[in-house]
Point group: C2
Chain length 172, copies 2
């Protein structure tokens, strides 16, 4: 436990990370966004949609063939790697919230595996570049995966949102 | 390219994988399901819901503190590692479909980063074990992450589903 580690707020708790990882991921591209500082990023995908902020997903040449038929997918689930986030906090005290919460009850980028999941609207496809709305991440964020978005996999019947957003702030 | 690799169907295409990964993931627990063979798994989360198949998410002790406040999350987005899937197919020909499609236009477990994302309903919480409905994976599948499910992050306004499921079969 590293309660006194730098950048840890009162009430937050860290664990010792394992000495090795269990599997590896490839960065298959990059996400280009208008935001180079955390403070400028939209607070969450809803705010990104409200701002109509267009971002670009660039898929590296090695994997570009996997985009075949992507034009039949108006909505994509994008998985990306939040490369600047620490991974050891298990209890966090989100700013503007004040109450400690478990990491798995937060959308914070700080988590054991800093993988973000966001659904985007695809606006345009130009080769291996996709213009999308719905991302809120830093410019240069590594891309992990694109999947067609299905309501049956990616939404729960009756899951409501506005209160959840208020109760579970995303940003730390 | 390895067009003649074993277990590749006519029309499918593989790429050479990079010699090294770019980042590592921790397996933070396991998913216990009734299914030990791929053929027995539900075809997708919708079928898992229709079968009312209850699965158990077991979070390892190191990370269990991160479950604090999880009882305020009726729906979770579960990320897990499809450990038995190959990672090099960029064009796939799903069984029962017959048409080649790009990997990023499919929910197939075969993808560069075999990370699955499913929304589940939480039925019960017993310490670091969660009983859930909505998973369709093999018993023993490694767990990567749990997040509160928000419609604003995990669903697109107007994204419809039934035709998408038919057009983009999940299983290979």
């Amino acid at each position: 436990m590293a309660e006194n580690a730098p950048d840890i707020r009162p009430g937050e708790r860290a664990v010792d990370l394992p000495s090795a990882c269990d599997a590896g991921v490839y960065f298959i591209g990059r996400i280009r966004t208008p935001w180079t500082r955390r403070i400028d990023c939209p607070k969450n995908p809803a705010e990104a949609r409200a701002r109509k902020a267009v971002c670009t997903i660039e898929v590296d040449a090695r994997w570009a063939e996997g985009l075949m038929s992507i034009d039949s997918c108006p909505h994509l689930l994008v998985l990306y790697w939040m490369h600047e986030a620490r991974r050891d906090l298990m209890i966090q005290v989100p700013r503007h919230h004040g109450e400690p919460r478990g990491t798995f009850a937060l959308r914070s980028p700080v988590r054991p595996n800093p993988i973000a999941a966001s659904v985007v609207d695809v606006l345009a496809i130009d080769g291996a570049r996709l213009s999308v709305i719905g991302l809120d991440c830093l410019d240069g964020t590594p891309l992990l995966d694109l999947k067609p978005h299905f309501a049956s996999a990616d939404a729960a019947p009756g899951a409501e949102d506005s209160q959840a957003d208020a109760e579970h702030p995303r940003a730390t």
